[in-house]
Structure formats: C-alpha cells, structure tokens
Subunit: 459 residues, 2 copies
Amino acid sequence: MAQGTGVVVVGAGLAGLCAARLLADAGVEVTVVEARDRVGGRTERGHTAGGTPIELGGQWVGPTQNRMYELIDELGLETFPTYNTGEIVIRLGGRQMRVASHRGATPRLGPFTLADLAQGLARFDRLASRVDLEAPWQGPDALDLDGETFESWIRRNLRTPLGREYFRVATEAVFSTQSSDLSMLHALFYARSGSGLETLLSTDRGAQQDRVVGGTWLISERLAAGLGDRVRLGVPVRRIEHGEDTGVVVRTTAGDGGDGEAFTARRVIVTLPPTLAGRIDYAPALPSWRDQLTQRLPAGSVIKVYAVYDEPFWRADGLNGQAASDEGPVKVVFDNSPPDGDPGILVGFMEGADGRAFARRSHSERMDATVACFARYFGTKALHPVEYIERDWMAEPHSRGCYGAHFTPGVWTGFGQALRAPIGPIHWAGAECAPVWNGYMEGAVRSGEQAAREVLALL
Amino acid sequence: MAQGTGVVVVGAGLAGLCAARLLADAGVEVTVVEARDRVGGRTERGHTAGGTPIELGGQWVGPTQNRMYELIDELGLETFPTYNTGEIVIRLGGRQMRVASHRGATPRLGPFTLADLAQGLARFDRLASRVDLEAPWQGPDALDLDGETFESWIRRNLRTPLGREYFRVATEAVFSTQSSDLSMLHALFYARSGSGLETLLSTDRGAQQDRVVGGTWLISERLAAGLGDRVRLGVPVRRIEHGEDTGVVVRTTAGDGGDGEAFTARRVIVTLPPTLAGRIDYAPALPSWRDQLTQRLPAGSVIKVYAVYDEPFWRADGLNGQAASDEGPVKVVFDNSPPDGDPGILVGFMEGADGRAFARRSHSERMDATVACFARYFGTKALHPVEYIERDWMAEPHSRGCYGAHFTPGVWTGFGQALRAPIGPIHWAGAECAPVWNGYMEGAVRSGEQAAREVLALL
C-alpha cells in the first residue's frame, strides 16, 4: 500500500470542512473528497424564482451553539432573528388556538391536560438531566431506558390523549421520525445534548432562534473557498484500504460507475452519517462492533416544503407564521421570509410517517397537501402561493434521510462505545458523533474539529 | 445500457441457488454471482481435526419446513434426528435443574413462576395468532404492537423475575439479539411465521428436530453442481445499473479492489440480507422507501462455538446435551455429535449482548468461557475438549451477522410494504423476505423460488 503523507477527509459537509480547516491551519496536507458536485452536506443552497435565497437543508442556530456563532462571525456572515412577533397557531385534537410566542407560554388545553403535560415534561427533564453525554450507556437506568421506545414511555407516563399527542408531535419535529422508532434513552440523550427538550422546540431562546443572512450554505462555501483546491467535488468514495502502519488508500467511483481516482494518506476522517459510512467497502473489513453499529442508526424521514407569497400576510393577522399541529402532513411551520419580509415565505416539514407516505406521491399532491395545511393554520390566502419548492432528503443519494440518525432501542447500550472509536487510521466524525448538539450543525462543527485534533495528536 | 437476455441472481445462498435452479429448469439463461469463494451463504462447511463434518452456520430442519425436506430428498440427502434422549439442563436465577426432553415438559419453578409463564405464553400465542404473515402492518393492533419493544411487553406482561428471564433467553436463542432490540410486532410475526414460539424453541417436534447427514452445506453444494458454470464465485457485486426497459448491468469488484466483470440481464434477483443489499450502489438510486427500509433491519449478533470430546460423556449421565440458561456467555447448547456419536460434540451459541462482548475478546478467552459454560451444565469432563472451533458471523464481511435480520420498532408499520416490492427490473429474495419460516433455511428456499416465479411471469 502506498504511504501517503497527509489526511483525507471524506465528506464536505460542516464536519468535514471544519476538520480540514483545522488540519490545514496546522500545516497538514489535507484533501477533502466529496461525492456531490457541491459542498455543504445536509445544508444546501436554494433560491425562489425571484432570486431570494432559501435553505433546502439545515438552517437555524440558537443559544449555546457557540462554535456556530463564532464560525459565522469569523467567515464574515451575520445572523438575524427568526420572525417571532405575534402568536403561534397550535392545533391539537381537532381544536385550533393561538398561543403567545414567548417561551413557556402554554396553550389553553384544560386543566387535566396541562397538569399531565407539566408532569410529563418535568419527569422527562429529570431523566434527561442524568444522562452522561459522553457515555449514555453508563448510568444505573441506562439498560432500562434503552429497553423501551419513546412511544411506550409516553403511553405509560402521559395520561391524557392531548398530552400524548404533544410528545408525539414534538418527537416528529425534533427527530423526523415516530416516537415508536427510537429508544427512550436516545430521546433523553438527544434532548440533553441540545440543552433540553424545550430548547429544541423553541424559537424564543431556542434552537430555532436565529438564521444566517444569505443562507447557511454560505458557511460551507466560505470554508471551502478557504481550502481552495484541497476540496475535490464529484468523487464518491467506494472503498478504503487501510493498515495500522501503512496508512490508507481511498478509492472513488468515476462518473461512468467505474474506477475513479485514488487518494493516499496517513489517516482518513470519515464524516458521513454512520449508515452511509457503513456502505463503504473497507479492506480489511471493519470489526463487527463497528459494522453492526452502522446497521442500527437509521436516518429520519423528512421532506422540506416551501410556499412563497407576495407578502407575509399572516403577520397582519397577528400571527408569527409558526404552527404546530397533530394533523398532517405538514405539522410544523415557520415564517422563513428574508429579513425584509419580501417576499413572504412559509416553510414546513413532512416528518416521519407523513414524510414516508408523501414521498410516494406526486409533486402536485405534495404541493396541494402543503398549501392545504398552510391554509388550515393561516387562512385561505395561503392557498395561492406564487411558488412551491420542496426537497425530499430521503431521496438524496448522499444523505438518504434527515435531519439526522436516531438510535433504535438497545443500540446505545449495545454499541455506543463503537460510535467514535477509531479503527486503526480511520477516524469518525459528523453530527451523529457529537456529544453536544448531536444532530445539529453545531454538533457537526464540534465533531469535525474534535476528530481533527485527535488525528493531529497522532501524526 | 446493454440489453441482457437472462437473469442475474446475486448471492449463492439457498435463496439464490433455488431461484436460479427454478429459472434454469424453465429454460431461462441465468447467472449466479457470489462474493465469496464458496456457495451456501449462512450455511457453511466445517470439519473437526478428525474429519467429522460440522456446520459452521445454519443446521436444523423441523416439521412444516416442507420445501427443505423435499429438497433434501431430491438432492439424495438424508436427515437424522437431533440427539434428544435424556434430560435437558435448565439454569434460571442461579438454580440448575434437569427437565424431561419432550415438548411441553416444564421445569420445577414454583407455582407463581409457572402460572406467570403459562399466562404470558398464552397471551403471546394469542397475539401472534392474529398477525397477518403477508402484511404484518395490517390489523387493528399493528401500530400499538409495533410501537414497543419485546422487552417492554415482557416487563408489563410477566410478573415474576424468572418468567421474564425465560422470555429474554428465548429471545436471544431465536433472534440472537436482546429483547430490547426488536419490535413486539416482529416477535409475534416471527413466532407465527415459524409455527409458534414453542416450535421455534423445541427439538421434539420443533425447529431443532432434524439434522442433515453430512452437513447442510451439501444442499447448496449439490444445487450449485446442478447449475454448473452458471455459478460464479469470488465476484462481489458493487453496483447495479437499471432501467425499466433496458434491463440491468451488474458490476462487480475485482480481487485487487478495482473494476471486475460486468453481467447484463433483463432482470436481477438480489438475495442478500436487506442491510447488505442496501450497501450496493444502484444507478439510478433506489426510491427512498426501499433505501430507508435497508437502514432499519440489522442482523443479529452470534458466535457459534464447538467443543469436541472423545465421546458424548453427558449421555451416560442421562443428559441429552441440551442446555438453556440465563447465565452466559453460552446460554444455549445442543449435542451436535454425528449420527454414530463418535466423537462427542457440543455446540453452543454466544448470542446478543454475549456475542457482542465476546467478539471483542481473544480466541482463547472465548474458548475458556465456552468450556466453562459447558462444564457448568454437564460437569467437569467438559473442561478438556480435544478441539474448540468457532465462527463469529458478525465478522463475516458477506453476512455481517446471523441468524437473520430483525425489525426494530416502527419498521413493519412504516416500511413493511417495501420489503418484497420489486423496483423496476430488481427483485428481492432471501430468508428475511419470507412470510413463512422467515429467517430460516426454509424461508430462504421459499423466498428464492417465489422471486423466480415472479420474474418468470415477467420475462
């Protein structure tokens, strides 16, 4: 095997680009190989027909995401607050109501439901506060919590139908999958990793607080510009040959499906989501615990949908353009207009079972269903957008789902130790590897930088 | 894309070989491409140092596995009964006892435990009897049952510690994974698919009733002999190019990791376990529902361990060489001696968490742990085998786990319809696709033949 000198980074998303930047700044020869013909991974550049930038992928930042705010600043970018003036539309059990937009405001749900919800949230937070972010498989309750789904915990701990629905909608909004699909331990880990369930769900002082002027993909584009020709696009990795002392050969697929270019290096950082990392052909084959982990971290199911209007008409009605509903297919909505409010843009998400069902339908069926949901929340003006835009992340061959992967029951306790453990010269990074802000852009940045430091110490 | 004439079958396990045989008998041009340098898939040829054949993989057949018995007969092979004379050793909660070997015999466990167990088994069987094998996602309780793990059902429905332990050991023995890891709906589907939980666990009139003289791999070897040079070994498939009207090009990897041979055909039957099928590069990319399914069907975790003795000494003690225990790492043991009982052979299984933990240890640690378990069940004579043999199926690059894949919570209801649905000219088969005897050799045979008939009707 050829002895390379530097480091190959697989994937030019935020994790890969931040890893490469740190290595390049330290004087290490680094090459980023990216399957797509663009950088950014699960963030992606989009525009309305009128030229307004819209994010097809990840878009929000919020408090305690310190590395993201620093990075945005360093790169000469700016943030602006997500539109949050006016009331949110909440729809639960067929009843629609308006709720104040500040954090902690409660919908009018009746005393039994509110007490049930308060008790359920307190119990959830108490359990979450005990999870060890670096090692969720530790702790006296880990096996118990990892032995059940979030859904079965909800059924046992919430007594009212609407209390249960609240948790289910929250699961879909945060994980883009059903409460049936994930481990209770993972739900707790993830909430704590992102500063608590309420933070994950909030705009006011929460994970949806701020946006990036011009679009989040600019972060990756500027990072890539700084790396210059170290970033190679359109080179899907299909095989990694590795040895403890001999370094790595990273082989790619050419445009015609045959052999592409090969890259040699001393070490490689693979930043793909674990499932996709498991689809690379490793020679020699990876140990069983690593491979079996990659069989057990499925990506969420989400289609991001946009409707563009001449103006943000909901604002005049005292609404902030946000909705949360237990009736789909679009259960979560935000005002995603540019800072000047021209044009008015609503963004929504078909998540979990809704995303899976609507992935099988036509573009026009998805558009009709989207505007019907928007009209249900904000009135009939929503029925006639000037443009409809969508991105099905499940169909993207190099993501195969969003927002991120979730741990199914038994996986944290059975395989958690394999998540970040390097295999010889192969290191792992990406949003799914992050102890803090797992699954978010912040987690991707932190994880990429962490892996780069790990590699630097070994070069 | 070149227009092929016949059918390519990916994988020379039982499903692939049976599919190919049916197609060849119908006069169709067929090529079987197999990654390994042998046929048989999850069945594999082995021998003791003294030359006695032993199965490194799948080995038992039992009542209602009609296609397997017919196939064994057609190929000129014979079965013999698994050794079942004498008592079974049962170890639960630190207490070891001997139990009669006929089906339905109950261990002496105290009236509360026995009543609990009887009630739990009856409830399980009642639920299982309502599962629709062709469409487990249908039925009024499907969403509820698919929303929880088998483990949380056990906790709620069994009241005694030993009653719970019984179900957990049964899960490990049948699924080679923990009760935490799988959907309750899947546990019920699988039990019904194999004629009931008691059948899956039994030797007497159960799934472990009979063995094949000479070894089960002979079935695949004889099927392959009949197919002659239609079977190509050592050609791992890495890419399938496909179109509705233009057929398929199946591209393989050469020994040096570069481009190998390409095979063209009108249709392809992929018989790999779903996870491994998902690792092939499809062009164009497969629809999201198919891809996301393959992210959600992890393989079980098992190491098969053998100890060979001069004679089956346990028989003289009135024991049949079978053990079931809640104390590992080897919790399930059988007498696997040849028909004449010379030499004496014990076979055991490190399953689920035990398999995962011991996969990280050394060969000699696994050997020591194995003989220590055998000695605990059958006495100190077990401490000194003449030979120890093992096969870690998680480490096998072309299986990546055994016995089969399990559905995690939410997957049957969310993705079940994608399991067997062809994508244009690509058809799916294998033990995991079978409605009847899912996960067993019988299921593999039935599924392969079913896929071949499906393709025949379309050629």
